[in-house]
Symmetry: C3
Subunit: 284 residues, 3 copies
């Protein structure tokens, strides 16, 4: 499980914010050597009365089976590119639970399966320096706003050489409505490690969607018990209205699973104040 | 806990379907040797905010105390006949989560306590070859559709000789509305084991309800790691409109708690297509 | 975890009532010797879909960090005086889940943080015979009925000498609405142990609220496996309309975590019948 407690400045007031979570991890092995398992949090278990959401319904947490053929996961899985590249460096004890006043966080704006409530399939496979992944929604009435039965697909690949990894991802929303072009997004991502410093950068090019492009970079450096991390991202909206946002944070490891952590995040939207948080993260 | 992942054909489309569950099992013993305990799933824990449903409220999961006098269970218990006879053989990796296009599954249509959201009491007692059970709802505003304070009762008995068990059950819904006759259902059930084959059959005769009778039979044979199972049931509605439905499935045990499983189910309702599922069940 | 099962008389009917609960307890220690942790029940985990309530959102369960400076807790914490004085002696297998026909229980009517759904901070510190506590709500839109952004604060202190503890608490609701006086409540509490008998008494004086005063006393005596407990409380409403209520109960310890328990509770409201319950409490 994990927990956190601290104070949050939302641009107007300081407030307390805390939480506690328990994670269930299940695993087994078949006689033939296939590994299988699943994982979800107690608050994701679902509501057996309504079956509207949860690990019990397959749109929270996930299950998997893996072997020489790779790993097949089902449930609330990430899209193929997010599975390979992840997000930018997290800042503050609230992580991506607190963003800027307009909602920007360290999360990379992937096109598909990024809201954590869809049931989908993810396939990943690694062979030496190469990793590939594919993902798709489950076909059960995915209504992404069009009122229809939309589907999402994505593929991604990554190549690692020494301390460098580069990757490419491609995501598609296949809108159900007639005469509407598929929205697609191509992502280029790079990760590098220089001594105690990790750097991650991406560029995303969207077609037939609501933005032109998004790009960002983050860096995190650790010296002793202290880690300093920062990120900056920009979204170029169609027809102007670009937004840049960033965050910077400091972690201090208290040992035993407790980390003191603070961050400031802001964006360049007119009239938007910075946000901040300072507290302790626990892992048990 | 347990989990599953696979593909489901609902008569129109193939879709993915997965889930993960954790089961809590609690037990203890008094100084005098009485055993007590309880069990519920994480998704059945309930919502402490509303208290509308869940093990916390007593209408999901159950608790029990047992001794020489038998076993008293409270919560979301089965009716007396279901406690002794169970349901027909399950087919497919989805079990009774997927039925035919009109909802038929391997579940026997017991009259009472069969929807899993009622709080009730179940008493069971075994002595040698004889088993008896009694169940009743808890009296807390059970509205089964009449808009009133309906009550349900049931008794059942079973006798086992060698590889054969025969049993009788009787269930009553005591409608609160004035001038409405109690709905009753009498069930006759038989279970037999022939080598590696299990057979179960039942006949249910309803009075003052919406059906005349229901009957069904299932068989399951295991050879090595493979189990083949099938069931067929029929409901005779009052004034005609009978429905027959059936399912056939194959399980292949992968060992370690993983079972590959597939099934086809269908009914004879006009215009209704077969359904199917194929996937893996996990138990942890 | 814990559970219970039994029968309840609500003043009109006897009904069954049962429940089962699981408690998650998390803890750790930093390299510097600070202790941290958290606790919540499975039914308090929260609903990850809505984030409306739960340990995941910080208004159920709690997290803490403690050291030589005292203990800081966040989440669904008690008010400062409740943290030091608790409630009167509990009666019956239902505890405070069943009260009199008008809702009176063994709970002391603290002014703040007593409904179990607010996110707040609690600080406690003990040095020798002295204990102090302070609590406040988290500033996140606490609407206590005024439609505004109300805040609550409380402080309390206790002094223990031999088998006696006396304490003082002071609670404030700072209503957000303009021109409305803060509601305050001063509490005096005393706890004494005489051999196998525990006695607790309090007097609460409210200003600018809906009552004038509240007071009560409870006693619990244990002889062998049997404990007899009782409480009586009174609320003096502004402009008359005083209510007195009481409860008496007997527990019999079966060992192994099971306790047989029954109680009767009643109030002096005209036309109100006594309530009762009898059953078994389990702790696992």
């Amino acid at each position: 499980g994990n927990g956190r407690m601290g104070v949050v400045y939302d641009g107007a007031d300081w407030e307390f914010s805390s939480r506690a979570r328990v994670v269930f991890t299940l695993s087994g092995t078949t006689d033939g050597g296939l590994e299988f398992g699943g994982s979800f949090r107690a608050d994701q278990a679902g509501d057996g009365a309504t079956g509207a959401w949860g690990a019990d319904t397959g749109n929270a947490g996930s299950v998997y089976i893996s072997g020489a053929f790779g790993k097949i996961s089902m449930g609330d899985v990430a899209s193929a590119p997010e599975a390979l590249f992840g997000d930018l460096a997290s800042v503050g004890y609230m992580g991506d639970s607190q963003g800027t006043a307009n909602g920007g966080t360290n999360n990379i704006p992937y096109l598909t399966l990024d809201d954590g409530t869809q049931s989908a399939l993810l396939y990943t496979y690694s062979a030496g320096a190469f990793s590939v992944a594919a993902s798709m929604s489950d076909g059960i009435g995915e209504d992404l706003g069009s009122g229809g039965d939309d589907q999402v697909y994505a593929v991604a690949g990554a190549y690692t050489f020494g301390n460098y990894t580069v990757g490419l991802g491609y995501e598609v929303i296949d809108w159900d409505a007639a005469g509407v072009d598929n929205t697609t997004q191509l992502e280029l991502a790079a990760v590098a490690t220089f001594g105690n410093t990790d750097v991650k950068a991406y560029y995303a090019d969207q077609q037939d969607g609501i933005i032109d492009a998004a790009f960002g970079i983050s860096a995190a450096t650790t010296f002793g018990a202290t880690t300093v991390a920062g990120y900056v991202q920009q979204i170029d909206a169609i027809g102007g209205g670009d937004v840049t946002w960033y965050g910077i944070g400091v972690d201090y490891d208290l040992g035993g699973g407790a980390v003191l952590s603070g961050a400031i995040q802001d964006d360049d939207v007119t009239g938007s104040d910075p946000t901040a948080n300072f507290g302790v993260r626990f892992s048990f």
